[in-house]
Structures are given as structure tokens and as C-alpha cells.
């Protein structure tokens, strides 16, 4: 009843936003350091890499897939960029190299899934292993450091008052949101995830579409990898480990069901922010990062149980109606 009232008075605001606002208020009240502008920028900067990955993960989840390779592809793309820079290639070529590397990884995954009829879980698990192996092998498992100074400014610089990584996130978001909301592409993605049969009967080429979606995921992982390298000022072969899971968590916290059919990029970004804020808050409270992981894990599971219960309720409601 109460919830209905809320929905009527504030129609288009996703519930997940309330969670975020609640978190911000609580943390803001109890931790003075949390309220500083420096800290907020810090959260944003740290969250940028995850945000970009999560956008890719979101559209992959909408078509009913899952991508476990994004973190490894991120590392690989980063290593590749670092290697090119170290070999004194010019900046543009190095960046293109990194992005292209991610794109090719995504394309390969997409082809395996769409044309090889391999379940996405298995295909991306394979890609994860491959990408991780190559990124370790590229420089014998060592980090590539001593990158040119101007490259470091790339991720640590500002445009006006906004950190460059945030600008990149926003650009990616706007482009993808346009594709999802204004182009056939988006409609077809929802169709593919919601009812593959219907999509096929209406003349949608599901194979090419699947391939494109995973390619976009790889491309975004490439971009994220470059930001990561620039932030750390070195190419680290295992730095992306775990990002794929955090991305999935962000997607799911944003309300996208893992079976696909529905999802929203905006909510996914809110999911990313929630994770970032939680981590930051726990860090400021003095919890070591190991405990942060545990606490976030518990929180995510609780959130999902609650979301699931709400989902079942809404299903029963629909049943009653028909």
C-alpha cells in the first residue's frame, strides 16, 4: 500500500535510487571525511573503471548472457597499451591498440557464443583464462612500469572540474543509452533477451546481434583497461581480476534479472555507485579491504533476496489479474 503511494507520487524514480540516497545520508552523517569533495571525486574516479565494464555487462545480461572475461580482457588490453607505450609508439596508436585488443577479444567471444552455440558462461570462462594467460605471458608476469608522463595525466587529469575518467564514462553511457533507447539495436536487444523466438520470427538476426553485443562488451573492457593503466601508471597483468564479478553485481543490484529480457544502463550505473560508496565508507570506517569484500558480499545477497521476493510478488499479482 505504502509502496503504491510512493510509486504514484514519484513515478519514474527507480527504487534503487532510494537505497543510494539512504546510504549517502547515513554515511554522510556518521563519517565527516565522507562529506568532503575530495572524497567524492575519489569515489567517482575509482568507480569509473567498474562503471565502464558494468555498462557492457549490462547489455550482455539483457540478452540473457553473462560475461566472465571482462576483467581479464581489461587486464590484457591494459598490458597491451602499456607495452605499446613502452616501445615508444605514439599515444593514439597505443590507445587504439588497447581498445582494439579488447574489441577483438569480445568479437572472438561473440563468435564462439553465437556461431559455435557455446553457452556464454563456458565461452567467457575460456576467454577469461586465455586473456589472463596472455596478459601474464606478454611481459613474463611482471608489471610494465616507466610509462611516459603525459599518459599518466590522461586518467588523473580534469576537464573543468570533472575528472577525465568520469567524462569517458558519461560519453560511453550517452552513446549506449542512445543506441538502447532510440535505435533498433536497443529494441532488438530487449526482444532477443525477452523472447528469442519472437525475435527470430520477426526477422531479427539473433546471431549477428549476439556477436555485436559481446564485441561492445570487449570494446568497453578495452577502454576500461586503458584508464586503469593510466591511473596506476603501469601495466599490471592481474589488476582486472574480480572486476567481471563486481560488474555483474552492479548489474544485478541495478535490477536486471540474470535471465535477461529487461535491464537499464542508468540503474546499472547507480549499482556501480552504490558499490563504490559502500567500499569507500567501509574504508573510511577503518575496515581492511578483506572485510570490505565480505560485508559487500552479504549486502548484495540480502539485496538480491529482497529483489527476488518482490519479483515473485509481482508475478503473483499478474497471475491474479489474468
Amino acid at each position: 500500500m505504502n509502496k503504491n503511494l510512493l510509486n504514484i507520487s514519484l513515478p519514474n524514480i527507480p527504487e534503487i535510487l532510494y537505497v543510494l540516497i539512504f546510504l549517502l545520508i547515513i554515511l554522510g552523517i556518521f563519517i565527516p571525511e565522507f562529506r568532503t569533495i575530495g572524497n567524492i571525486l575519489n569515489i567517482a574516479q575509482q568507480g569509473a573503471v567498474l562503471a565502464i565494464i558494468a555498462l557492457g555487462s549490462c547489455i550482455i545480461t539483457i540478452i540473457g548472457g553473462i560475461d566472465l572475461s571482462l576483467g581479464a580482457v581489461l587486464s590484457l588490453a591494459g598490458m597491451f597499451t602499456a607495452l605499446l607505450l613502452k616501445e615508444n609508439f605514439n599515444l593514439i596508436i597505443s590507445l587504439m591498440g588497447g581498445i582494439g585488443c579488447g574489441l577483438i577479444c569480445g568479437l572472438i567471444t561473440g563468435i564462439i557464443i553465437a556461431y559455435g552455440n557455446v553457452p556464454s558462461f563456458v565461452a567467457t570462462l575460456g576467454m577469461m583464462s586465455m586473456a589472463r594467460g596472455i596478459s601474464l605471458g606478454l611481459f613474463d608476469g611482471a608489471t610494465i612500469s616507466g610509462l611516459p608522463k603525459y599518459f599518466r595525466n590522461f586518467a588523473n587529469g580534469y576537464i573543468g572540474v570533472i575528472p577525465i575518467p568520469i567524462v569517458i564514462v558519461l560519453i560511453c553511457y550517452v552513446i549506449l543509452e542512445y543506441l538502447m533507447k532510440r535505435e533498433k539495436f536497443g529494441i532488438y536487444i530487449y526482444a532477443l533477451g525477452g523472447n528469442q523466438n519472437a525475435a527470430r520470427c520477426c526477422g531479427i538476426n539473433s546471431k549477428i546481434l549476439t556477436m555485436i553485443v559481446y564485441t561492445i562488451g570487449g570494446l568497453l573492457a578495452g577502454i576500461a583497461g586503458i584508464i586503469m593503466v593510466s591511473r596506476l601508471n603501469c601495466g599490471h597483468p592481474t589488476v582486472g581480476i574480480g572486476y567481471e564479478f563486481e560488474a555483474i553485481v552492479a548489474v544485478v543490484v541495478g535490477g536486471t534479472p540474470l535471465e535477461g529480457g529487461w535491464g537499464s544502463l542508468g540503474r546499472t550505473l547507480i549499482g556501480v555507485i552504490i558499490i563504490g560508496v559502500l567500499k569507500n565508507g567501509l574504508m573510511l570506517l577503518g575496515y581492511p579491504s578483506y572485510w570490505q569484500m565480505a560485508i559487500i558480499g552479504v549486502g548484495v545477497v540480502l539485496a538480491l533476496i529482497m529483489a527476488n521476493m518482490a519479483f515473485i510478488k509481482s508475478k503473483e499479482y499478474i497471475n491474479l489479474q489474468t
Binding site: Y178, R182, E183, K184, I187, Y190, A191, G193, G194, N195, N197, A198, A199, R200, C201, C202, G203, I204, G261, W262, E316, I318, N319, L320, Q321, T322
Partner: protein, 499 residues
């Protein structure tokens, strides 16, 4: 004015072990409502799937405008103007009404998809269908009738020539049905043909022009609706003699083992009253969607009921679950054995003992020798033909798979068995064996609730017969009272009303 534009000639469709369609001929004219009738399993849906490009016929020709065509995928079917509306609808839940209608054919403008155009056209076409829904509502929030309209709207927009409707009114109320008929009439006026599959005779006489009856995969006849009566159609549908032997010895029945009083479930069943006594086989007949399987699911605790009283073996039971059911002596032989009954990848032995492990091995450790002996006993009792107890069940024939299911419940010492379509998909020899087993089972003082779509089986095996219609039990027959016509009547119309 009505010319034949689509013709099926000698269509044969074989599935492994079954001939689903045998030399079927069908002519469809422009602007007619062609009704397709037949019992469950008569081949209606196979025919529909051939027309909509889901199956390719094994042999036979399809002519469209006198040209030979091959409908080899659903997309092609749509391109040549055949729009099927299945019960499993081709709609995407999280897209809007407009997006669903225009899926695959979105109009474009400079900024991408032209949503204005979609909305305008959607409103226009929905208005024509007499629907006032907004084009930007998500389809998941619509009722079934409205979802159907989306498919019809899509058919109109793609300039379909033939719309196939599979039981379109099965989920609709009276008003919605009326509306649907109006729409069908206006489609007819535009020269669109409709292949209408339904079991409801009243409807057929209201809306149909021609009726084609299928029986056991064969064409019985195509006639003009105006020239036939309901009883004629029923005889055409049934028209089968009981030629199988049903080895039934009848006993006097004992006390009640199962009793249902006013059981209702949220979306399917209404006020079910039913009883099964010791030593009885009770038949449950009804058309697809009448709620028979749902009832079986509730009895076995797979689904919940929200109202009513259930008593099993004299004990009132408030909540059922499969574990409890097996313990008190219930067994379910589901219709889809592969999906819901057997563990196909396991051996015959494991399948037989799978629901009695706790009873036979209370310590939790399974003795392989004892298990094999146990399994062997029931393999012999049920006459399962298998090279060894370790044979994987998947490689047995349909009949032996069903016998394995029976052995499983014998092993679990279940007294009341629920058979859902006991002989579907098994050959004639095994059919008789299954019937013999059912007979032996009740002769030992046990009971059976049998759901079946085969009239001879229902008539030959049951002591009493309940007829279900739209989630209700509409009639109870004692053995000898019923015949094929009267059963079909109640199953199709829900009452005895008859011209």
C-alpha cells in the same frame, strides 16, 4: 469472390515412431474462417506448425497461388503472409505495445527509430481493432486478450493473408470473446483467411464458415458449417470403435482413499469435488487446458491449492508436498515422462529405486547388491525388457520407460497412483501391458486416478469417469452410463445442451 489461395496436398508428417499426419489435404479460401477440429493428438497443431514454418512436412506439397512453396522457417511464413498466433505468444514482455507490433520493421528517421510514427500507427491499428490501450505500455502489464490483439495487429500491418489462431478464446472471457469475433469478422471482410483451431462447438457455429475434422492424423472431411449439426461434428470427431482389449475385471469398490471437497486453485481449478475408492480406477477426461494435469500436480503437492479440503487415506491433509505424498503412498506418473518422471541419464536400477531409497536404506548407505536385487524384482514384476539393471533408461523404448515408472512406484509401495496419459507415446503391445498392470494394481486393493485423452482407454478402463471443462468437474459417469458421444459433449460444451 472467395478463391482458393493456399492448398495443402497429401501432407504427411512422420515423427520417430508416429505418423502425426497422414495424407492430409486442405484448401483455404480468401476471406473465410476455416475451423480445424479434432481430439487431442489428432494432428491439428502439427498441421499448424507446418503452415507456420516450424516443421517441414515429410512429404506432400503446399501450393500458394498455385505455386509450389516450401515453408522452411517461421520468418518465411510471415513474409508470404501467414501469421500464426500460438498460445505461446510471440511477444516480448519488456517492450512496449508499439515496439512489439513493429518488431523487425521499425520505421526510421534522422534520430534513429521513429517512435512518433510507431505510436501513431499503433494507435491507428489498435483503434481499428477497437482497443484503447496506449502504445507505450509495456506488454508484460497487459492481459492475455490484449496480448492477442498485439499479434493480430501485427498480422494486419504485415498484410497477412492467413491468420492461424490456436484456441484463441481459451483464456478469454465472454466479452473479450465477442470482441475477438467482431475483429475476425472485419478481417474476413478484408479478404484475410483465418484458420481457427478450437474445441468449443458453440463458437465454431458462430464464427466458422467451413470445418475440417482430423482424427488420428487423418483427414475425416471438410464440410460447410451450415450443412452440419453439432451431433454430426461430434460423430466425425469420435467415429472410432473400441478395438483395443481392455483386460478389466471389476471389483466392488471399498472405502474412500482420496477425497476432494471444493478444491480451488488460484488460476486454474474451481470447486473440484472428487473421490477415489479402494479398488477403483477413476478416469479423468477433458480437453487440453481443462485443468486435468493441474489437478494431478496439486494432488502430488507440486502446486498449491488455496481453497478446499483434501483427504488422503482417511486423513485430512492441509498442505501437500511430494515427499509427504510418497510417504503416505501416492505415486505420480506424469504425462511427460522424459522431463518430469525419469532421470534419463541414470540406469534402470537407479530409476526404479529412486523414490524408495530412504525407506530401503534408512542408514543412508546404499548397498549396491541389495539395490540390484530390489530393482531386479520389480523389473521382473513389471516385465521391463532391458539387457541389465544398469542400462541407461534413455535407451529403452517408450513402453519400457513407462514400465520403469510403474516399477518405481511399485518399489515405493504406493497404493494410489495418478497416471497422467498412461499410454501416450508407447506402442500397442506395451499399451496392453500397462493396462494389465493397472488392472492388477487395483485388484490388489489399490487405486488409480487416470487422466487420459483417449476415449477408448477412458471408457474401457474406468469404473467412474469425471469430465473436466474449464477447470471444473462438470459431470460424473458411472461405468456403463457413458459413451464416446456423451463424454465428448461434456468435454466440449460443459453441459448437455444439444440441438
Amino acid at each position: 469472390m472467395n478463391t482458393t489461395f493456399l492448398e495443402l496436398i497429401n501432407i504427411i508428417k512422420d515423427f520417430p515412431g508416429v505418423r502425426a499426419l497422414n495424407n492430409v489435404n486442405l484448401k483455404i479460401n480468401t476471406g473465410e474462417v476455416h475451423v480445424l477440429l479434432g481430439e487431442n493428438g489428432a494432428g491439428k497443431s502439427t498441421l499448424m506448425k507446418i503452415l507456420s514454418g516450424v516443421y517441414l512436412p515429410t512429404s506432400g506439397k503446399i501450393l500458394m497461388d498455385e505455386k509450389d512453396i516450401k515453408i522452411n522457417n517461421p520468418r518465411f511464413a510471415r513474409e508470404i503472409g501467414i501469421s500464426p498466433i500460438f498460445q505461446e505468444m510471440n511477444i516480448v514482455p519488456y517492450l512496449s505495445v508499439g515496439e512489439n507490433i513493429f518488431l523487425g520493421r521499425e520505421p526510421k528517421n534522422r534520430l534513429g527509430v521513429d517512435f512518433n510514427e510507431i505510436n501513431k500507427s499503433t494507435i491507428r491499428v489498435l483503434k481499428r481493432l477497437g482497443m484503447g490501450i496506449k502504445p507505450n505500455i509495456l506488454v508484460k502489464d497487459l492481459g492475455i486478450a490484449q496480448k492477442q490483439m498485439i499479434e493480430i495487429a501485427r498480422a494486419i500491418l504485415t498484410k497477412s493473408r492467413l491468420v492461424i489462431m490456436d484456441e484463441p478464446t481459451s483464456a478469454l472471457g465472454e466479452i473479450e470473446t465477442k470482441k475477438l469475433f467482431e475483429i475476425i469478422r472485419s478481417l474476413k471482410k478484408e479478404g484475410i483467411a483465418i484458420l481457427y483451431i478450437s474445441h468449443r462447438l458453440e463458437e465454431i457455429f458462430e464464427i466458422g464458415d467451413k470445418v475440417t475434422v482430423l482424427r488420428d492424423g487423418k483427414l475425416v472431411d471438410t464440410v460447410n458449417i451450415k450443412e452440419v449439426t453439432k451431433s454430426k461434428i461430434i460423430t466425425m470427431m469420435v467415429g472410432r470403435t473400441i478395438n483395443e482389449i481392455f483386460p478389466r475385471n471389476f471389483m466392488t469398490s471399498g472405502e474412500k482413499v482420496l477425497q476432494l471437497k471444493n478444491v480451488s486453485s488460484r488460476n486454474k481449478l474451481r470447486n473440484i469435488n472428487l473421490k477415489v475408492c479402494k479398488g477403483e480406477i477413476v478416469g479423468l477426461y477433458g480437453l487440453v487446458g481443462a485443468g486435468r494435469t493441474e489437478l494431478a500436480q496439486i494432488l502430488f503437492g507440486l502446486d498449491s491449492f488455496n481453497d478446499g479440503y483434501i483427504e488422503i487415506f482417511g486423513k485430512h491433509i492441509e498442505k501437500l508436498n511430494p515427499i509427504k505424498c510418497i510417504k503416505i503412498g501416492l505415486g505420480l506418473l506424469p504425462e511427460d515422462r522424459h522431463k518430469n518422471g525419469l532421470c534419463l541419464g541414470l540406469s534402470v536400477k537407479s530409476n526404479i529405486t529412486k523414490s524408495s531409497l530412504e525407506m530401503e536404506f534408512p542408514s543412508g548407505f546404499i548397498s549396491p547388491i541389495k539395490e540390484a536385487i530390489l530393482a531386479n524384482r520389480y523389473i521382473q514384476e513389471c516385465n521391463i525388457i532391458t539387457p541389465s539393471v544398469n542400462r541407461i533408461v534413455e535407451y529403452l523404448s517408450g513402453g519400457n520407460q513407462q514400465k520403469t515408472m510403474i516399477a518405481q512406484w511399485r518399489c515405493a509401495q504406493s497404493n494410489l497412483l495418478i497416471f497422467d496419459e498412461p499410454t501416450r507415446g508407447i506402442d500397442v503391445g506395451a499399451k496392453v501391458e500397462v493396462h494389465q498392470f493397472m488392472n492388477a494394481h487395483v485388484n490388489k486393493g489399490n487405486s488409480i486416478l487416470m487422466i487420459s485423452s483417449e476415449l477408448p482407454e477412458i471408457l474401457g478402463m474406468s469404473d467412474r469417469i469425471y469430465i473436466m471443462y474449464r477447470g471444473q468437474i462438470v459431470k460424473e459417469f458411472i461405468r456403463g452410463e457413458a459413451n464416446q458421444e456423451s463424454i465428448i459433449q461434456f468435454a466440449i460444451m460443459g453441459s448437455e445442451k444439444y440441438e
